[in-house]
C-alpha cells in the first residue's frame, strides 16, 4: 500500500486535525464524537444542513462545511457511515431554531444511523427532516432491495440546498427542494483502478492492467460490468447514455453537468471527458448551463470518473450561482 499516511487507524483523526489547522476561519472541529461545524454555528433562524458519511470521499463532506453549504459534517471511519452519536451532537450544535435537514446518501448503514440520530434529536425537541439521495443509475432500483446508491448528486444538492437555507427558506421548503433535486439528477461512475482501504492495505478489487469497471460505487463496490479499457469517448458514452435515458433528460432540457474524478484521475482527463459529454448533449438538444469539473466526491486514490447530470431551472441556477465559502467549493465571496 502506497499512501501518505501514518497508522491506518489514525487516518481520520489526523485528517481532522489537518482540516482544523488549515481552516479555522471556516470550520470548527469537534472530537469524540467527531464532527465538523461551520465556524459561526449555530446560525440563528437559519435551517441547518447536516450531512456525513464514511471518510475517504474528500472534499465531501467536511470540505463542504461553511457559508452557503453545510452547517455540519460527520465523518465516519474510511468508507464506513458515521454513528448516531456523532449525528446527534452535530445536529444539536448547528440547530439555530429553524430546524435541521439531514442529507443522507442511500446506503443501508447511513440510512439506519441517520434514522436513529433523527429519532434521538426529535426526542430532544429538535425539528429534523431527512432526505435520502439515490442518484446512481448503475444500480437497478426496486422496493425489494436497498435501492440506488447516493453518489455525485449529493455534492450538487449540498450546494443548492445550502444556498436555499442561506436565503432563509423554511425547513419544509428546503427539504422539498432537496427531494426535487433528487428527483431530477442522475449519476454513473467507472473505475480504472481499485482504491486501497488503509486498514485493509491491499486493493479492494483486482482490476487487470487492461480492464475497467463500469458502474462502480464510491466505496469500490463492483459495478455493472467489467470490460477491456476503452477510449475516453467510448467510456463517456457508457456513462452518459444510461444517465440520460434513466430520467430521461430530453431535448430542450437545461442541465448542470458534473464531471468528477474518483481521486486518482487528473484534471486533464476530466476535460477530455467533459468535451465529449458536451458534444453528446448538444447533439441531443440538451443545453449545459452550468458545470462542475474536478475531484469533489472521491473514493480514496481510485482512478476513474463519474458523470452527474441535474435538470436545472431558474431557481436552481440562482441557487447554484449564490455565494459559497467552503474549503472545497468557493465563489461569489
Amino acid at each position: 500500500m502506497k499512501k501518505l499516511i501514518n497508522n491506518p487507524e489514525n487516518v481520520v483523526l489526523e485528517e481532522l486535525k489537518g482540516i482544523e489547522l488549515a481552516h479555522p476561519d471556516l470550520v470548527k472541529v469537534h472530537y469524540d464524537p467527531d464532527f465538523i461545524v461551520r465556524a459561526d454555528a449555530p446560525v440563528k433562524g437559519k435551517v441547518a444542513l447536516v450531512s456525513g458519511g464514511g471518510s475517504g470521499h474528500e472534499p465531501m463532506h467536511g470540505g463542504f462545511v461553511g457559508m452557503g453549504m453545510l452547517d455540519a459534517a460527520c465523518p465516519g471511519a474510511v468508507f464506513t457511515s458515521p454513528t448516531p452519536d456523532q449525528m446527534l451532537e452535530a445536529t444539536k450544535a448547528v440547530d439555530g431554531g429553524a430546524g435541521v435537514l439531514h442529507i443522507v446518501k442511500n446506503y443501508t448503514g447511513d440510512v439506519m444511523n441517520f434514522e436513529m440520530a433523527a429519532d434521538l434529536a426529535k426526542a430532544e425537541g429538535i425539528d429534523v427532516e431527512a432526505v435520502v439521495v439515490d442518484d446512481d443509475v448503475a444500480v437497478k432500483d426496486s422496493t425489494w432491495t436497498a435501492g440506488r446508491r447516493g453518489v455525485g448528486l449529493t455534492v450538487l444538492m449540498e450546494k443548492l440546498v445550502g444556498a436555499a437555507a442561506e436565503e432563509g427558506r423554511s425547513l419544509k421548503e428546503v427539504a422539498d427542494l432537496a427531494r426535487k433535486i433528487n428527483g431530477q439528477g442522475r449519476s454513473m461512475g467507472m473505475a480504472l483502478t481499485s482504491c486501497v482501504v488503509p486498514h485493509v492495505g491491499k486493493p479492494t478489487f483486482d482490476l487487470p492492467e487492461d480492464e475497467m469497471e463500469i458502474g462502480i460505487g464510491i466505496h469500490g463496490e463492483p459495478g455493472r460490468t467489467r470490460m477491456k479499457v476503452e477510449p475516453a469517448d467510448a467510456v463517456t458514452e457508457m456513462l452518459l447514455n444510461p444517465v440520460i435515458e434513466d430520467l430521461p433528460f430530453e431535448s430542450g432540457d437545461e442541465v448542470l453537468l458534473f464531471v468528477n474524478s474518483m481521486g486518482g484521475t487528473p484534471l486533464i482527463e476530466l476535460y477530455i471527458v467533459y468535451r465529449k459529454a458536451v458534444e453528446m448533449l448538444e447533439a441531443k438538444g440538451i443545453k449545459v448551463v452550468r458545470n462542475l469539473i474536478g475531484p469533489y466526491i472521491t473514493s480514496l486514490e481510485m482512478a476513474g470518473a463519474s458523470i452527474t447530470m441535474l435538470k436545472m431551472d431558474d431557481d436552481l441556477i440562482k441557487l447554484w450561482d449564490a455565494p459559497v465559502k467552503t474549503a472545497g467549493m468557493r465563489w461569489g465571496v
Binding site: 464524537p33 464514511g54 465516519g76 471511519a77 474510511v78 468508507f79 464506513t80 457511515s81 458515521p82 454513528t83 448516531p84 452519536d85 456523532q86 446506503y107 443501508t108 448503514g109 439506519m112 444511523n113 436513529m116 448503475a138 444500480v139 437497478k140 425489494w144 432491495t145 436497498a146 446508491r149 482501504v197 486498514h199 485493509v200 479492494t204 478489487f205 460505487g217 466505496h219 469500490g220 463496490e221 463492483p222
Partner: protein, 212 residues
C-alpha cells in the same frame, strides 16, 4: 443449567478475540460483495467494548448487554453498527434484571434480537444478510427448549443452524445491504454479516458449553 453474569462477560470477551482473529477474513468476505470493512468495523467496536465492559459488580446481565449495544452503536457505524447494537440492546432488554438465564430465556432473547434486526433493516430470510443466520438459530433454540434439551445441546444446535444459514447465503442474490448493488454478481459469495453472526452464536455455544 444456567448462564451466569460471569459467563456472559466471558462470552463477550471470547467473541472480541474471535473477531480480532478473523478480522482479515471478514473484511475479505466484505471485499467480495461489499466495501471491505466488516472485519475492521467489528474489531473496532469490540475493542471499545472490552474497554467499557463492566467487571460484573453492581450490574445485571441486561445492563451488561445494553452497555455492549450502546458501545457498538457509537463505535462501529455502517450497517453492522446499528444491527449488532440492536442484537445486544434487544437481548439485554429481554434478559433485563437477571444475573443468570436458561435456554428458554436465551431463545426469547435471541428472538427479540432478531425481530429488532428485521425491524431496523427490513430484510427477510433469503435476502443474504445476518438475518439468514439469526432466524434458523432462533428456531433451533425454540425447538431445543420444547424438546427439553440441555443448555449445551441447545446452544450447539443453534450454532449449527446459524452455520447452515451462513453457508446457505453463498448462492443467494443479495436484496439488502451493500451487496444488493451487485445484483446477480453477489451470488457465489458468503455474506460477511451472517458469518460474524454465526461466530457470535458459535462462541456462545463453546464458552457456555459446560455451564451448569
Amino acid at each position: 443449567m444456567a448462564v451466569t453474569k460471569k459467563d456472559v462477560l466471558e462470552w463477550i470477551k471470547a467473541f472480541a478475540q474471535v473477531i480480532a482473529e478473523n478480522k482479515e477474513y471478514l473484511t475479505e468476505l466484505d471485499a467480495q460483495i461489499g466495501d471491505a470493512d466488516h472485519g475492521a468495523n467489528m474489531d473496532r467496536g469490540f475493542r471499545a467494548v472490552l474497554e467499557k465492559l463492566p467487571n460484573g459488580e453492581d450490574v445485571d446481565i441486561g445492563k451488561i448487554m445494553k452497555t455492549v449495544g450502546m458501545t457498538l452503536l457509537s463505535k462501529v457505524g455502517g450497517a453492522g453498527g446499528p444491527l449488532y447494537s440492536t442484537i445486544f440492546m434487544q437481548a439485554g432488554m429481554s434478559i433485563d434484571g437477571k444475573d443468570y438465564f436458561d435456554l428458554a430465556d436465551w431463545a426469547k432473547a435471541l428472538e427479540a434480537a432478531t425481530a429488532g434486526v428485521v425491524r431496523l433493516g427490513k430484510a427477510s430470510p433469503g435476502d443474504k444478510t445476518m438475518v439468514d443466520a439469526l432466524t434458523p438459530a432462533v428456531q433451533a433454540l425454540k425447538d431445543a427448549t420444547e424438546q427439553g434439551l440441555s443448555l449445551g445441546e441447545g446452544l450447539k444446535k443453534s450454532a449449527e443452524a446459524a452455520e447452515e444459514g451462513m453457508i446457505a447465503t453463498i448462492p443467494l442474490v443479495a436484496r439488502k445491504g451493500r451487496a444488493s448493488y451487485l445484483g446477480e454478481r453477489s451470488a457465489g459469495h458468503q455474506d460477511p454479516g451472517a458469518t460474524s453472526t454465526f461466530m457470535l452464536l458459535d462462541t456462545a455455544a463453546k464458552v457456555w458449553a459446560n455451564c451448569s
